[in-house]
């Protein structure tokens, strides 16, 4: 049995506090849907009554990056759009998370050409990848639950685990 010291008590308290904060955060996701393309249709389907994303506490889209904490990047990102996406990401306050919704945001999909960014993780960090062209609503909800787990486990400071950079040659 460990000795009860002031230090240990503080540690235990902050751990509980972290958990409580994580719990609160994961059920009050204010999402910014950055909808560009086809995936937006499935995003709509997920958000509406049939699949009801509100059950997961993520039913309230915010169209101001200042008020949002999860950025849903929904649809192909072209090179013309990339700077705008990055600016919106930068405008969001910490803690923030990014969901790559659909295969175009994950890898560029089958638009491997001059116009398209081959995966948004080449321009910004990503927390959850939801592949599919477009992903079915069930898949989106699965991704959302994985994101909730991730939010639960994250530190109070909101510091993101830096993902490994992708190789340049893709």
């Amino acid at each position: 049995m460990e000795e009860v010291t002031m230090e240990n008590v503080t540690l235990a308290l902050t751990t509980r506090l972290n958990e409580a904060l994580g719990w609160a955060r994961k059920y009050s996701i204010f999402q910014y849907p950055f909808v560009t393309a086809c995936c937006g249709m499935e995003y709509m389907a997920t958000a509406c009554s049939h699949y009801d994303v509100d059950r997961f506490g993520a039913g309230f889209p915010r169209f101001s990056p200042r008020q949002a904490d999860v950025l849903f990047v929904v649809g192909t990102i072209s090179h013309k759009m990339a700077p705008i996406l990055v600016r919106i990401y930068e405008q969001m306050a910490e803690p923030k998370w990014v969901v790559a919704f659909g295969v175009c945001t994950c890898t560029g999909g089958f638009y491997d050409n001059y116009a398209t960014v081959m995966g948004i993780d080449t321009i910004m960090p990503v927390d959850i990848y939801i592949p599919g062209c477009p992903p079915r609503p069930e898949m989106v909800l699965d991704g959302l639950m994985k994101l909730q787990d991730k939010i639960q486990d994250q530190h109070t400071t909101g510091v993101r685990a830096v993902s490994e950079p992708r190789p340049d040659t893709l």
Binding site: F34, A37, S49, H50, S78, N113, A115
Partner: protein, 655 residues
């Protein structure tokens, strides 16, 4: 007017200007010297016998590598390029690209009065990349010419505002040229974006307005709406110059979802383009599928069985309903009627369930194939269809009750976003947006394709050309589409559905492959392959009703692919890299009625395994080019319903 007399009337009037002419697959084409373009175009528009009031499409083709694509070794030895089948007599073969010039600018004209079409091809030398602009004759030429400049680098004399449209400032080169590498990217970041200069005057003007009380100093304000804006379902940017609440001038910037559809279509084989067409107008992908497949079929000279036409029509009309539901729902949501949006998406889910039953996917379906469809309708499809329509009708009635006589909705929709019929035609606008202004142009009625001439439906038209009329037209079109589907399900000729599936010994596909490998063909003959759910409805017994009998265009049923050497060869020749469907040299334009208007596919082939050029005439491109002028003079708040009624679909607009 017949195609030959159409060509004659142009050639007689301008004997020196017309350098060649031909009719290929029913498309009249006139090749023109560039000096007389403006003169001929004016004649086409103003001559009472021609009355070409629509400039449907304007695009270019880079002929520099025409016929130079290396033929794969396998292929050249076997030489099975598809020659046109006997269905269409080919007494007038395609004479080849127009002249030796590198580029050709292609104009497609249409007359609503006489229902005839004419293609004008103007060769452009690489040394003199300039043509006269048609912006003085058709307002819609403005954006179309900008796109040709952006993609091909061909300039237009007299164009008021020739700058890039789909790509961005600072992009070097012209991506649709054959020598632009498909993967040559020019990213804008990490460097911050260069601000594109808006076309409207950026200098604020200060003027003094004499009002009743005292002189008030007013100042124009520039407001940037988009690309990421809550009232924009889709990414475009409108730079609005405001005087108080009033929009004085508006510049619309598009291209944020340009993802190189046309370039990709030149790389993949003919059937490989179908998934890309799904993602053009992703709210009604089945119509895109149908349009593209029918264009390639026209070029091949083949036709599909009647049942297949019916299946395509049924699926297209279901798609049209989903498209209108999304458009009306989103418009209502942006005006604050969130309930309607929820209802309409609910109805869309019922229809998507239908689509899923048939195609296996909810929205990106890739259901059509060149020469047929992937699989037949499931058995007793009419029953779930009736159920879904019953729910949809209920939703439409509910939404109608919530919106049509709703004071707030009416006030915001009536009299806003007005466009006259003349302007709409001049911009090349088609579909519900045009019909709300009066003209009843509908491709399904005026240039019937598939089996639309046999199905009963009405074309609703408006009279004011405002947002309210567009909303009403769309609401009525949904009902008409359901009517079409119900009639089609009643009239559809029996096919696979009535085939007795019990005949033929069922053998799992994997087992059949093993039997075939050891040469045990007799065990497979007269048997039926048990395939996965994605190929359900594609049995050998159903093939005659869903696919063309042209073996060089359509995959064999799995029973043949596994069971005999001819089937195996056919499968092999169609799926191996460098083989696939071979389309004879030629060019065709084929229009279908998309959810937003005339959706045309212009396909040029040089006989190789992939298309030489695939051009889409995107219906909402024309509408978006008009939005700037429609918004001018309106109040800021009217932008939301107007933009909603455009039904801008990024995939189709920017391709």
């Amino acid at each position: 007017m017949s195609t030959s007399s159409l060509i004659e009337s142009v050639a007689d009037r301008f004997p020196t200007a017309v350098s060649a002419s031909h009719t290929y697959r029913g498309d009249a084409t006139v090749v023109l010297r560039h000096e007389s373009l403006l003169e001929v175009a004016r004649f086409l528009k103003e001559d009472p016998a021609l009355q070409m009031d629509f400039l449907m499409d304007l695009t270019a083709v880079d002929y520099s590598t025409f016929g130079k694509q290396p033929a794969p070794a396998f292929f050249s030895s076997s030489g099975v390029a598809v020659t046109p089948s006997s269905q269409i007599p080919d007494d007038d073969p395609w004479p080849g690209p127009p002249g030796r010039s590198r580029f050709a600018v292609v104009y497609h004209f249409f007359s609503t009065a006489h229902k005839h079409r004419l293609r004008l091809v103007v060769p452009v030398e690489e040394t003199a990349l300039e043509l006269d602009s048609l912006t003085g004759l058709w307002l819609g030429a403005n954006w179309l010419e900008r796109e040709v400049w952006d993609m091909f680098g061909i300039g237009f004399r007299g164009h008021p505002d020739l700058r890039r449209i789909l790509m961005y400032e600072g992009f070097e080169g012209h991506p649709m040229r054959k020598d632009y590498p498909v993967k040559k990217r020019q990213p804008l970041i990490p460097a911050l974006p260069t601000e594109t200069t808006p076309a409207v005057e950026t200098t604020a003007t200060v003027e003094t307005v004499e009002s009743g009380l005292a002189a008030i100093e007013t100042r124009d304000m520039l407001l940037n709406i988009g690309p990421a804006h809550p009232a924009m379902h889709g990414i475009i940017r409108i730079v609005a110059k405001l005087d108080g609440e009033e929009i004085v001038d508006a510049d619309v910037e598009i291209g944020y979802l340009h993802r190189g559809f046309e370039k990709m279509a030149e790389i993949v084989d003919y059937n490989g383009v179908i998934p890309y067409t799904d993602r053009l107008n992703y709210v009604s992908p089945l119509i895109n599928n149908q349009g593209y497949c029918m264009a390639v079929e026209k070029l091949l000279g083949i036709s599909v069985p009647e049942r297949c036409h019916y299946v395509r029509v049924i699926m297209s009309e279901i798609s049209r309903i989903t498209d209108h539901l999304t458009c009306v729902g989103a418009t209502a949501m942006e005006l604050g009627a969130f309930t309607v949006f929820l209802y309409m998406i609910k109805a869309r889910e019922y229809l998507w369930d239908l689509v899923e039953k048939v195609t296996g996917a909810r929205m990106t379906v890739s259901y059509c194939r060149v020469g047929g469809v992937k699989a037949d309708l499931p058995e007793d499809f009419a029953e779930p269809c009736q159920k879904a329509f019953k729910e949809t009708r209920k939703v439409i009635a509910e939404s109608d009750a919530l919106l049509t006589r709703n004071r707030i909705f009416k006030d915001r929709m009536t009299g806003t976003g007005v466009i006259s019929a003349e302007d709409a035609i001049s911009y090349g606008i088609t579909g519900p947006f045009l019909r709300a202004s009066g003209p009843a142009y509908d491709v399904r009625k005026d240039c019937p394709y598939a089996v639309y001439d046999r199905l009963p439906f009405d074309v609703p038209v408006g009279s004011h050309g405002d947002n309210m009329d567009r909303y009403l037209v769309r609401m009525e079109e949904m009902e008409q589409s359901m009517r079409i589907v119900e009639a089609a399900l009643r009239d559809i000729p029996p096919g696979g559905v009535l085939v007795n599936m019990e005949t033929g010994r069922p053998i799992p596909a994997a087992e059949m492959v093993d039997l075939g490998k050891v040469g045990n063909i007799t065990a497979i003959t007269d048997s039926r392959a048990v395939v996965g759910p994605t190929l359900e409805g594609a049995d050998r017994a159903r093939y005659p009703s869903i696919a063309t009998d042209e073996k060089r265009a359509f995959l064999p049923p799995k029973e043949d692919a596994y069971g005999n050497i001819e089937g195996l060869m056919q499968q092999f020749k169609l799926v191996m890299f460098g083989h696939g469907v071979r389309v004879p040299e030629g060019e065709v334009y084929f229009p279908v009625e998309g959810a937003n208007g005339e959706l045309g596919f212009y396909v040029v082939s040089d006989g190789a395994g992939s298309a030489y050029r695939v051009r889409v005439r995107p219906p909402c491109f024309a509408i978006m080019s008009a939005v700037g002028s429609v918004l001018t003079g309106e109040s800021m708040a009217d932008m939301t319903p107007t933009f909603g009624s455009v039904n801008m679909i990024g995939g189709e607009l920017d391709r």
